[in-house]
């Protein structure tokens, strides 16, 4: 490149630092640059992205070295510049500011001084705790109470700050500073490692300290807590006074002097809690060796290693800011997945050590960026298995060190610290580790897919248990676990865990369930009991006080279809184990291939019941092996099913009924293919109705009309509704598009094509009647066919018709193609709708839960009275997006979790600035998606409010063209945001969800007028959210009757009424109604149309002239309109309630 002009060079260099600065400092400078550079933004609507316009000079100026470097760096260290900026922003958000750091440092110095000033006490026996003042209780369950040894308090030999605060990797909110208090050697005695003596002293040490510090006005609160949830190791929490209350929490951890404990005594195979002491039995000399206490040993070791770990981390991470960024990002990542808290959590400390490990193995370099560190760690977690091949930070090859295998025997997950004695992952259960692994794999897949919003999904989306797992199960009360421990013979574990039966039972229970659920299960995760905090004057909380243990099941959809648990053949030795495992449920069965095998068969007829087999498995196994009765198992998996269950069904959620309708449709399409005597052959038969893609909320039931209930129209073989009877049952015909082959015989004129199509409709009806004896009724646009009680509406289509509607001839005779409303409508109905239907039909075959999710979602939207504003197809596509783009989750396998994610998606998606891309059949490549996004930004203002892109519809978002309006979408977003926490809270409540229909009941207080309808003329009255106990007879027989007359089709008085209302008063008011049995229509006046309008012929509709301030204006004639509501719905309307006076102008 040629030498740059001096001016340009100068400008470039001057600007570069500013850009860097602005990225770091905030919006002030950025704003300045904006105003000078991106002028179009100034006048743009708030919160809307605009295409960037840079001048040619800006784009093509000579680059400076800094710019080139930054660009290169971005390319090599980050995935994209967007990601880089996002990461920088996030770090800024979670990092501590310097100002706060200073305040914290000052506070720490104060704390240090206060601790040193705590007075010593005289020596007493450990069991004699009378010296403790009244206001403080020992923060430890001292069971058994008697223990040898003496205790006195002396000020700590050393107070050091350890942990993330010093490293600069702690993240907001809740900043914790860990302080290690080295207890002077005089307090401790030999053999303190035995029988919890050390822990007793530690607790007493804290109790005394707490008593004195609590009197100090410096502290706003002094509490006890458990160090990372471990019940033997309390810690003291200090918070500053007054407005700094939330600034910081200082955690005090007493620890033994260096090299006080001999490491060889604390190997995982050693025992340090004697059975004789623990169980209070005198005889232990019955020959059995003492069980090892690996966890106990680890907890002692952890205290000894606080400082050395700190040193290791500070040398490793020391100056490398990229590594620190990486740790901070990882902490955010863990926290979003709720993995870091509680006993056995995958804490930030473990992750920091993991970074140190990868640095030591040279997989991470100190110059790497935070993003690369995150990626490397995730990659490492995703591809290694620490349950089989543990890792160690210890580099010495001293033969006296214990082998990794020893650790594998004692712990599920192994990651040794540099001393080679301490397992950093000692408390991490196998399930927790599997969950971490699973999350890492998902995240890697996401990063590799180069999705545009990877950052958002990876680090900013919370994954609470209820939304991440298909089914949830609560065990409560937890005291049952104590009995379970005895049933499972877990006495050594109890001894090891110091009586913490919850964590002792956790491992065996999860293993039991994992084995039992087998192929149905993808992943089992458990909640970690929250780390409690209590006042120093109170006893420490009991193990059962965390109240509930929650397990999350991630199901494998392909495993859910089977009702059979196949065991070994009866004569095999494994058969006994199988019988023992399944107890009375195991039975001998003879199979078709002649084998006689042990097997367990679960009762489940429908898909909904099959989905709930895990419930049966879990309750059976827990009762059999762990003595936990089913009253203690609260299974949350199918509560929402009730909302998509048909009237008389309680066992199925309708998938079977939908499949029956689809089978009937398949038969019909075969008939159409084979029809003889049509002048043109059928080229395609395609379904175009929600039933045929499994997303109709209430599947159709075969109609068996009772003739006496109807008026008859004999000559046309049709039934008609009778005015003196209640409205007949609603039968909606299912649309089927039948394409006929192209031919020169088709006319080239739109009107003529319509006539020819009508002729085909008639012919079709005739032939189906003759050849297959089906009852048919033809109209100009469709033929209704009654088959096995289902009614199909066949629409004949001609491929070229949209084309012909589009043709316009210019004056010069040039034929050009222009979209017209008619051509678009036809194209949508005959081309795009069938394509969508078949794509979603395919999706249902891959993901059996799709139907349930889509139907629940639709049900909810309609129950909120917004059903009219959102097309069926748009909601189906949103539901499909949950399956096709589940990141950061996995595709839902139960309607419940899918529905929760639907609410989450709707409430958090940025509809304004991004299109919802639904990549059906994976047809869109990553590049095409990028292209779609940029086109979207460029044409945003011409697109509808809600944009849904599919491979078949890349530009226009067909299904949201006519709505919703911005206000309605906003309303839906608000409703979803409100419903989600309510529903999640209900489902997470171990006492049962209470009234699950709460979030499905619409708020009615916002409407200006309520029109109450009489149930007599609501054909779908029984489908209401709160199904009425009794409704009217709708003229259906329970058995197939002799009648083969065409039932009343699509006759739904509320819908007809609404159509009239919207036509007549659509520009004055909005009408809201739940088509599934709603008894009320909500009317909302449009504020704009209540402004007095000038006198104009086109304004006159429903208005009257009044004089206002001497001027004649037109205002809506509200009294008359309210009476019109009643007139138009005569017979249907029960009452018109005007509820607000807002219309008075």
């Amino acid at each position: 490149m040629g030498p740059a002009p001096a001016g340009a060079q100068h400008r470039g260099t001057a600007e570069e630092p500013e850009m860097m600065e602005s990225a770091l400092e905030g919006p002030v400078k950025e704003g300045k640059r904006d105003s000078s550079k991106k002028r179009p933004v100034a006048g743009s609507p708030v919160g809307l992205l605009q295409p960037v316009k840079l001048s040619r000079a800006e784009l093509y100026k000579e680059p400076t070295n800094e710019e080139l470097n930054r660009l290169r760096e971005t390319e090599s260290l980050f995935h994209s510049s967007l990601l880089r900026l996002q990461v920088e922003e996030l770090l800024k958000e979670v990092r501590l500011s310097e100002k706060k750091k200073e305040r914290i440092d000052a506070f720490l110095r104060e704390v240090n001084q206060r601790i040193m000033r705590v007075p010593p006490t005289s020596e007493t026996e450990l069991t004699d705790q009378s010296w403790l003042p009244d206001g403080v209780r020992v923060p430890l369950h001292q069971v058994p109470y008697t223990v040898k040894g003496c205790f006195r308090f002396l000020a700590p030999a050393q107070v050091t700050v350890v942990g993330s605060y010093l490293l600069g990797t702690c993240i907001r909110p809740d900043i914790n500073v860990d302080m290690a208090l080295t207890m002077p050697r005089e307090i401790l005695q030999d053999k303190d490692g035995l029988n919890q003596r050390y822990f007793r002293k530690r607790a007493l040490y804290l109790a005394h300290l707490a008593h004195h510090l609590a009197q100090d006005p410096l502290f706003g609160s002094v509490h006890f807590s458990y160090t990372s949830g471990c019940h033997l190791k309390p810690s003291l929490l200090l918070r500053p006074h007054g407005k700094d209350k939330h600034l910081v929490t200082v955690r005090l951890h007493p620890c033994p002097p260096r090299e006080f404990f001999r490491l060889c005594r604390l190997l995982p195979s050693k025992n340090n809690v004697r059975s004789a002491w623990y169980r209070g039995q005198s005889l232990s000399g019955d020959g059995s060796p003492e069980p090892p206490t690996p966890h106990y040993n680890t907890w002692v070791l952890q205290d000894t290693a606080l400082e050395s770990h700190m040193q290791l981390l500070s040398t490793m991470l020391g100056t490398a800011s990229g590594l620190k960024d990486g740790v901070a990002l990882l902490k955010v990542w863990l926290r979003q997945r709720e993995l870091d808290k509680g006993l056995g959590g995958f804490s930030g400390f473990i992750v920091s050590m993991l970074v140190a490990f990868l640095v030591s193995t040279r997989k991470i370099h100190t110059t790497m960026s935070g993003y690369q560190v995150l990626r490397s760690i995730l990659q490492f977690l995703a591809t290694t298995d620490l349950t089989v091949n543990g890792i160690s930070l210890c580099s010495s090859s001293d033969p006296s060190l214990p082998a990794l295998a020893d650790f594998h025997q004692a712990f599920p997950v192994v990651f040794l610290d540099p001393s080679g004695h301490l397992n950093l992952c000692a408390d991490v259960t196998a399930s927790t580790y599997r969950q971490v692994q699973h999350e890492a794999q998902l995240s890697m897949a996401l990063l590799d897919s180069r999705a545009d919003d990877g950052f958002q999904l990876l680090l900013m989306t919370p994954k609470p248990m209820i939304r991440a797992f298909d089914h949830i199960l609560h065990l409560c009360p937890l005291s049952r676990l104590q009995a379970a421990c005895h049933r499972l013979k877990l006495w050594p574990e109890l001894q090891d865990h110091g009586g913490d039966y919850v964590s002792a039972a956790l491992g065996p229970l999860t293993t039991l369930l994992e084995q039992g659920l087998g192929s149905r299960l993808h992943l089992l995760a458990h909640s970690r009991p929250p780390v409690s905090e209590w006042d120093i004057s109170q006893d420490p909380p009991k193990h059962r006080d965390s109240r509930v243990l929650t397990l999350g099941l991630l199901l494998r959809p392909e495993g859910l279809t089977s009702v059979l648990e196949l065991g070994p053949e009866a004569d095999q030795p494994e058969a006994a184990a199988f019988r023992q495992f399944w107890g009375s449920r195991s039975e001998l069965r003879r199979f078709q291939d002649g084998a006689i095998r042990e097997a367990v068969v679960w009762e489940a007829a429908s898909l909904a019941q099959k989905r709930l087999i895990p419930h049966q498995v879990v309750t059976h196994l827990l009762a059999l092996h762990a003595d936990i009765p089913d009253t203690c198992v609260h299974y949350t998996g199918g509560f929402l099913d009730a909302l998509i269950q048909g009237l008389k069904e309680t066992s199925s959620t309708g998938e079977e009924a939908l499949a029956a309708a689809v089978r009937c449709y398949d038969d019909l399409s075969r008939m159409l293919w084979g029809l003889e005597g049509l002048p043109l052959t059928v080229s395609a038969v395609q379904g175009a109705h929600p039933v045929l893609r499994y997303t109709e909320v209430f599947p159709p039931t075969p109609a068996r009309p009772a003739c006496s209930f109807y008026e008859h129209l004999r000559e046309r073989a049709s039934l008609l509704p009778r005015p003196d009877k209640p409205c007949p049952a609603y039968v909606e015909p299912m649309t089927v598009v039948c394409h006929l082959e192209g031919s020169g015989q088709w006319p080239q004129d739109a009107e003529a094509i319509r006539r020819v199509r009508a002729a085909f409709q008639l012919r079709l009806a005739e032939l189906l009647m003759q050849q297959h004896g089906l009852q048919c009724r033809a109209t100009a646009t469709h033929t209704d066919v009654l088959k096995d009680g289902f009614v199909f509406r066949i629409r004949v289509a001609y491929q070229r018709e949209p084309q012909i509607l589009r043709e316009t001839r210019s004056p010069e005779g040039m034929i050009s193609l222009r979209d017209t409303p008619a051509s678009l409508r036809l194209e949508r109905d005959t081309k795009q709708l069938p394509l969508l239907t078949s794509a979603l039909h395919g999706l249902q075959q891959q993901h059996p839960a799709f139907s349930g999710v889509a139907r629940l979602a639709k049900r909810w939207v309609r129950a909120q009275l917004l059903g009219q504003e959102f097309t069926d197809e748009s909601l189906d596509l949103v539901a499909a997006a949950l399956f096709l783009h589940p990141e950061p989750f996995t595709p839902p396998s139960s309607p419940q979790v899918g529905f929760l994610r639907f609410l989450f998606l709707v409430s958090t998606f940025d509809w304004k600035n991004s299109p919802l891309i639904v990549n059906l059949n994976n047809e869109l490549t990553a590049e095409e998606q990028v292209e779609i996004r940029s086109v979207f930004l460029a044409t945003r203002t011409q697109l509808p409010v809600m944009v849904i892109i599919t491979p078949q519809d890349r530009k226009s978002s067909v299904w949201t063209q006519n709505g919703p309006s911005p206000q309605i979408l906003q309303r839906l977003v608000v409703l979803a945001a409100e419903a989600l926490p309510v529903l999640e809270k209900q489902l997470m409540d171990p006492r049962g969800p209470g009234d699950i229909r709460t979030v499905f009941r619409p708020p009615l207080d916002m409407y200006d007028v309520l029109i109450r309808l009489t149930p007599r003329h609501i054909p779908r009255h029984r489908q209401a959210v709160d199904s009425p106990a009794a409704s009217f007879c709708r003229g259906l027989l329970s058995e197939p009757g002799p009648s083969s007359l065409m039932p009343v089709l699509g006759y739904d008085p509320p819908q007809l009424y609404l159509a009239q209302l919207r036509e007549a008063f659509g520009d004055l008011a909005l009408f809201f109604y739940d088509q599934h049995g709603g008894e009320v229509i909500g009317v909302l006046w449009k504020p704009t149309s209540f402004q007095p309008q000038p006198l104009k012929a086109s304004n006159a509709k429903g208005r009257m002239v009044v004089s206002q301030g001497g001027e004649l204006v037109m205002v809506p004639n509200v009294e008359a309109i309210l009476e019109d509501f009643a007139i138009l719905g005569e017979g249907l309307v029960q009452a018109v309630e005007a509820r607000s006076e807002r219309w008075t102008v």
Binding site: V41, P63, E93, R716, L1112
Partner: protein, 280 residues
Amino acid sequence: MVARRRKRAARDPEKGLLSPPGYSAIPIKFSEKQQASHHLYVREHRVRGGTKSSWPQKRTLFVLNVPPYCTEECLSRLLSPCGAIQSVQLQEKPDLAESPQEPKSKFFDPKPVPGFRVAYVAFQKPGGLAAALALKGPLLVSTESHPVKSGVHKWIRDYTDSVPDPEALRVDVDTFMETYDKKMAEEEAKAKEEEGVPDEEGWVKVTRRGRRPVLPRTEAASLRVLEREKQKRARKELLNFYAWQHRETKMEHLAQLRKKFEEDKQRIELMRAQRKFRPY
């Protein structure tokens, strides 16, 4: 507020109803039972000089704000006391130009759901018009003697009407197709006649039906030709051959990156404004 409204409504009859200038107002109610009423605003149908109108001058009444339950028959019944009526037509909006001449097929153009409409009422004599303008009302749409169906009864009737008679439909289709075929045949014959015959300036029209068919004159076809030309040219061009080309590609790449960077910055700005960086 409501009380005040009521009072005003009660006062109305004494003051006479308000109406837009040039119009007079006639209250109209569905039946006796209703309290409030809508108002028909009526005036003589007039057009500015020069504009054509199919409605007879001087005896056509133009009616605004016809409520949805008021049908053509109904309006004709209500206004017939003023004088004999020639025709009544209800329309979505005032349409001066022309009323649709050809009668629509009831199978292919079903009646739309009615809203508030406008009406043109042509009286046989101008006197009817004058009487109508002086009408005081209130008019009643549905009376004992002539009940008008609404609500459930209307929907049942509509449903019954919508069950089609296949024979009538067939006849309708056949008649249409016959005329259509005739028309097409005529056009074809005419085209054949003109085939190869030069017009007065000596030009011969080339059509699709000729012995050597040509490309149809469509936009798509011409675009296709252009596209092919472009491809041909692109194939001949050498990429990254000259040094300047090379430099330009690099510069282009840089410009792309810059543009992307600016876009990203804008997005970040927006996200920051929306507090999108609060992880929890």
